[in-house]
Each structure stands twice: as C-alpha cells, then as structure tokens.
C-alpha cells in the first residue's frame, strides 16, 4: 500500500476514542469488553445489511454452483512493505475463490489475538480489511474474536472463509489440462516472500521490496468472460511458490510440464535478495499472483488481455504441457541445461555460502 493510500485511509477511518490502549484477555470473554471492542470498531467499519443483523450466523441467498474456501493467516511481521495481515487475509480467500472461477461474495472473519496487541495496530488491520473488501467487492457477514494469553500467539492470527457463485462460463478443472496448453504467470515471482524476508533480515535495497498482495478476482472474471472454457486451470502460487504448485499439478494430473527459466518474470531487486539469502525464488511465496493453464490457440490473446490489466502487466508464458515425462516438471536453465523441479522437503533453509 502506498503512503498516500495509508494517509487517505487514516483520514477516512479515524480511530475511535477508547478507554484502553491494548487488547487484553477480557476483550475475548464475550462480555462488556468484547462488545466495546466490536462496537467501536469491527461492526461500524465493516457494516453491511447482513452483518448488521448481528445474529449468531449470517443469512445468505446462494443460487447455483457455489465455491467455498477457507484459509488462515499468520505472518511475522504483521505489518510489512506493501500491506498488513488484514488485507492478506481478505485477498487470500478472495483469490482462492477466484481460482475456482467464482465471484467472491461473502466472507467470514475470525481473529485470534494475543493479549497485549495495541488497539492502534488492530485498528490499522481493520481499516486494511475494510478497503480490501471494498476493492474486491466482498462483504464480511459473520465473524469471531478470541484473545489468548501473552506468549500463546504471535500478535494476531486471522482466519477467513468465503463463498461465491461460479461464473457460468467457467470450467476450471485439472482434468481440462491437455498437451500443448500454455502456462501463463500473471506477474513477477517471489515479491511477497522476499518483502517479508527483507524486513525480518533487515536487508536494505535501493528501493524497498514490496509485497504483491492484491485481489485478483476482477482480473480473473474478465479472463473468464472473454475466454470461457479456454481457461483450463487457475491456481495461485502462495506458500511453496511456483515450483511447488506446478509440481503438485504435474503429479496429480499425470501431465508433463516444460518450463524455461529465462521466461520467468522477476524484479531485479527481488532476484538479488534471493541470491544474497541463498533462496530459490521459485519456492518463495506470492500473494497477488496466479498461474493459468490455457488452450494453446488462445494463449497470446490471454496474454494480451492480461497486459492491459494492472495485475497482469508483467504476465509471461513460462512453459507448456507436454506429452513426454508425465508427472515431471523439467526446467531449462538459463544456459540451456535441464533440471527436474521437485517439492521442498520442508521449509526452505538459507544456505551457508
């Protein structure tokens, strides 16, 4: 988020005056303090007809095929260049729904807060949530707040679940992937993970590395409107990065994938940060990126459409689906050698030298 946006948001949503500065166990007890916290913040800020009923659950009207998804968010630090855990939690579930070819509509929102979180920080997170919801066109319709003792959490954990109707032209399934399909990536890889890492490690570059967190639903629906069932599969390479996601698809769908390292879009500073920390950008997390498997005949047109979109201006074709080597992802290295892409055994650990 830019500085200007931040200031605009703070002006539009000034923090209410409260008689407490930090969140304590009492705020999660369901009593007076809980109500104070919710009334003075959450309900006002996220107000809509369904949420305002303040019932135990939300009453929704859903017709036809519906997508449903859930995700939990724990990130340290909770504020990072380009955003905070609040918008991450909204965008994450919005994007998961979008990857199903759905228009995200309603979300649930649950907080697990570690006692001691400054109310100011909670407010900033709420404001980010409000704006992320507006941008994505979704409503928070139900939620929950719990507070855990100091040391039993990491400032704040957020869970969001969401539903949305699947677009009538969408037919997203790994079963639709066929030999010849082109694999398109919507933008630069590894920005989110390296934005987080560079804060954690105190790395400084000429300009800050910014997380790519954003909602992709409008971009996706536009693609589906235009290209319908020629979009075979959509997936967002969050945890585990591009390599893990593609390997999973190759393995479960028994297809072969060929990639070219040279074609991967990556910001130069992000690439340097990866080199410096001994991390492979292909395994680093992204939060505003998607991969599309599309019919070969439509690939160039899809790419051209993406290039018109803010979320797709750096989109590139990075590879294709091939008959050979089923279940394997093979990458042509920058110098033309070949290597197999596999999943990581666990967390990516930085190398010594």
């Amino acid at each position: 988020m830019s500085e200007n946006n931040k200031i605009r948001m703070q002006l539009q949503c000034p923090m209410p005056k409260l008689d407490f500065d930090v969140i304590t166990l009492g705020h999660g007890s369901g009593g007076v303090l809980t109500n104070k916290l919710l009334d003075s913040g959450v309900f006002d800020l996220l107000s809509n007809d369904i949420l305002d009923e303040r019932h135990d659950g939300a009453f929704l009207e859903l017709n036809g095929k519906t997508a449903f998804s859930t995700d939990s968010f724990l990130v340290s630090p909770i504020f990072f260049p380009g955003g905070n855990i609040g918008e991450l939690a909204i965008n994450g579930t919005v994007n998961d729904l979008a990857m199903c070819g759905a228009t995200p509509k309603y979300l649930s929102l649950s907080f697990i807060i570690e006692e001691g979180l400054p109310v100011k920080e909670f407010w900033d997170i709420l404001v980010a949530i409000k704006f992320a919801c507006e941008k994505a066109g979704v409503q928070v319709v139900t939620g929950d707040t719990k507070v855990v003792e100091k040391g039993k959490g990491d400032k704040i954990f957020i869970n969001t679940s969401g539903v949305g109707p699947i677009h009538e032209k969408a037919n997203i399934s790994a079963k639709n992937i066929s030999v010849g399909d082109k694999i398109i990536i919507s933008g630069n890889v590894a920005s989110h993970g390296m934005a987080i890492m560079s804060v954690r490690e105190g790395l400084e570059f000429e300009s800050e590395i910014i997380s790519d967190t954003t909602n992709l639903n409008h971009t996706i629906i536009n693609l589906i409107e235009k290209f319908g069932s020629n979009i075979h599969l959509l997936t967002d390479p969050t945890r585990g990065g591009v390599a893990t996601v593609l390997k999973e698809i190759a393995q479960s769908s028994e297809i072969g994938i060929d990639l070219k390292q040279r074609d991967f879009p990556i910001d130069e500073q992000v690439a340097s940060a990866c080199e410096l920390l001994g991390l492979d950008p292909l395994y680093v997390a992204n939060e505003g990126l998607f991969i599309a498997f599309v019919s070969e005949s439509e690939a160039d047109a899809v790419l051209a459409t993406l290039h018109q979109d803010e979320n797709g201006k750096n989109a590139r074709i990075i590879g294709s689906v091939v008959q050979e080597h089923p279940k394997q992802v093979i990458m042509e290295s920058a110098i033309g050698g070949k290597r197999v892409i596999s999943m990581l055994p666990g967390e990516q650990l930085p190398r010594i030298c």
Binding site: E201, K247, R262, A271, E275, L277, G278, K327, Q328, I330, E332, S333, A334, I335, G336, G337, K338, R339, V340, S342, M343, P345, G346, L349, P350, R351, I352, C353
Partner: protein, 361 residues
C-alpha cells in the same frame, strides 16, 4: 548476473570443451556451491561423456562432526542457551534428532545470517547465554572470528561460539592421498580463495601434479573452470590458475586473514564421513577461551555411531556417486536423511535428489 548465465557463451564453452577433450578425465569440484550450480543448471548432462564431475567434500554442513551437532543440541536442550545457527545446519541429523526438532520441542534455536546478530542477541538478553554454531569453510571464518573480537571489545560475557571450521587445502590433499581416489584435476572454491588467496594451492599442484583452477559459482564460471582444467590436462600441465580473477586476488584478503589468525589457530579436525584430517580446522585460541563454547560448558557427549547404511564418506571423497548408494532415494531422502549430504542443497546427495530427477519426491 545475467552476463554469467548467457546461453550463447555457455554453448561456446561446451563446444570448446568437446573439441579439447581427447580422453576421459575426472574433475572434482571441491565446493558445494559449485555442485549446486552444476546440478541446478543441468551442466552435468551437457558435458561430453568423457568428462566426469566428482563432487567433493565442500559442504561445511555435511562434514560437521555428528558429536558436535549432539553438543549443540545438548546446549540448546539441557543448558537452555539461545542457540544461533545458519539455516541449513538445522536439518542435519544428530545421533537422535536434529535442531529443527529440538526447536519444535521448545528450545530457543534461531536462524541467523551473521554471527554479529548473535552478539546483538546476547547484548539484548543479558540473563541468557547465547551460543553461535560457527560452521563453515574459510569463507565464514572471518565473520565468526569478528563476532568474538566484537564481543570481547564490548565486554559481552554471555556469548560464545561452537566452532567447527574446516579448511579446503588439507581436504584436497586428503582426497588425493586416498588410494581409491581417481581425480585428475580440481576446481577450487572461489569464495574460500577470496579470503585466503591462492598461495596454498601451488605446493599441492606441484607435489601431486594436478591442475587446480580457482573457480566461481555462476554456470559460466563453472564451465570455464572445467575448460581450463581440461586444457591443462590435455597439455600435461599442472598449474594453479585463477578463473575467478574478477573476485579472487593472489594473496586473498589480508584483513580477513588477520582477524582469523587473531581468534583461531589451526588444529586437526574431524570431518563427518571422512575422519580426522591433520591441520584441517580452526580452534579458538586460548586468549579467547571464554568465548569457546567447548571450554565454557563442560560438555562431554559420548561419540555416537554413524548410520551404518550411509556411505557419505565415499560420496564426499568422490569414490561413489549418490545413486550408487543402495539407500539413495529409498531409506534416505531429504525428508529423512541418513547422512548430511542429503540435507543441505549443497550436499551432493540432496543436489542429485532435487535436480536430476532420478527419483520421485
């Protein structure tokens, strides 16, 4: 960086290698970073069949003695220290478990990029003891030594290092001396020479009649290094050459050497999987004994046996390839490593496992 990854130039080097080779040669890349680059860039399969790359002992994580890992685990678990380490050390198996598991069980184990951060942690936590697991080749020795000097100057009493430094030239000597070894030439580790310079390699290459080329880590560096070794071999030469001249000076970095000598002295060193190699490691000098975790804490841990199925010693001496091990990809995988070369991405076994597609994850 892209200038060292130019596919056209790579093609030219490969052509030149093919045109120069007249008989089979075995070349060892000493450094794990080079192994990583070879495998990650698919270079091994691009080389002519007559050129065999043998992956050396140059992964510091892989050769850190089992007993020392057990000591680190003991300090974190039993002594309640804040144990700081480089990242890829955490998954290396000790005799019972690894540091990641110890961390999961509640010990304070932290991943750092620099030992100076550990000194800072010690200053910020005066009521806790902080130990840095100082692992590495000559490359990481200056920073580790500097952390001791720094702590000494600032009067930080709760900081110490658990040192396991290994030195490259004695390892090359040990590899050549091994009767089963069949190596014709070496790519020496560029980063090590950045610190130490090239002088130690001249007597080695003269005595054993082997070409040694100080080489970098980018794909074109490695290809050029291989070509330089092959040219020497074909002309029956055995010299020290510097492929990595853009970084490495003949006398290395004297300032860095000074701080190493200030803190460390040379000692015999155990190499996991290989055994003891004379004068191949660094010990903390008596002057800085209070910063030496092995002296600060009275830790004697019984020597545990290595997993009998692991042939990492033969792998690291280049006698066997990872896929010649009966457990490779079967009992031994990155998720369940029997030995250290399967852990670090610089370890020969893990590099083969990840990148060469011999086995499925």
């Amino acid at each position: 960086m892209s200038e060292y990854r130019d596919p056209e130039l790579a093609k030219k080097y490969l052509e030149e290698i093919k045109n120069t080779v007249s008989r089979p040669w075995s070349i060892m890349e000493v450094c794990g970073g080079q192994t990583h680059s070879l495998v990650k860039n698919g270079i091994i399969d691009m080389l002519p069949d007559t050129v065999t790359m043998i992956h050396g002992p140059g992964c510091p994580v892989c050769v850190t003695p089992l007993n020392l890992i057990d000591k680190a685990i003991y300090l974190a678990e039993e002594k309640g220290v804040i144990l700081c380490s480089f990242g890829d050390m955490l998954r290396v198996p000790g005799s019972q478990k690894n540091l990641l598991e110890v961390k999961a069980e509640g010990a304070d184990v932290r991943i750092l990029y620099s030992p100076l951060e550990a000194v800072k942690i010690a200053e910020d936590n005066p009521d806790k003891e902080v130990v840095f697991f100082a692992v590495g080749f000559e490359t990481t020795a200056p920073a580790n030594a500097l952390s001791v000097v720094h702590a000494h100057r600032r009067g930080v009493k709760n900081y110490s290092i658990l040192a396991s430094h290994v030195l490259v030239p004695p390892a090359i000597k040990a590899v050549i001396d091994d009767e089963e070894s069949k190596i014709d030439g070496f790519l020496a580790a560029g980063h090590v020479c950045t610190i130490m310079g090239n002088s130690e390699y001249h007597p080695l290459s003269a005595e054993y009649k082997v070409p040694i080329v100080v080489t970098g880590f980018e794909p074109l560096d490695v290809l050029q290094g291989i070509l330089m070794v092959i040219r020497q071999l074909e002309q029956s030469k055995s010299e020290v050459e510097n492929q990595y001249a853009r970084i490495v000076r003949e006398d290395g970095n004297p300032e860095a050497q000074k701080v190493i000598n200030e803190v460390f002295e040379i000692r015999n060193q155990m190499w996991r999987g290989i055994g003891e190699i004379p004068e191949s490691g660094y010990a903390v000098r008596e002057k800085y004994a209070e910063f030496d975790a092995t002296k600060k804490y009275d830790v004697t841990i019984e020597e545990a046996p290595e997993n009998p199925d692991c042939i990492s010693g033969q792998i690291m001496k280049g006698i066997k390839k990872p896929f010649e091990c009966s457990q490779f990809g079967k009992k031994c995988k990155p998720t369940n490593p029997l030995g250290a070369p399967m852990v670090s991405s610089e370890g020969a076994c893990a590099a083969y496992y990840h990148f060469s597609g011999l086995v499925e994850a």
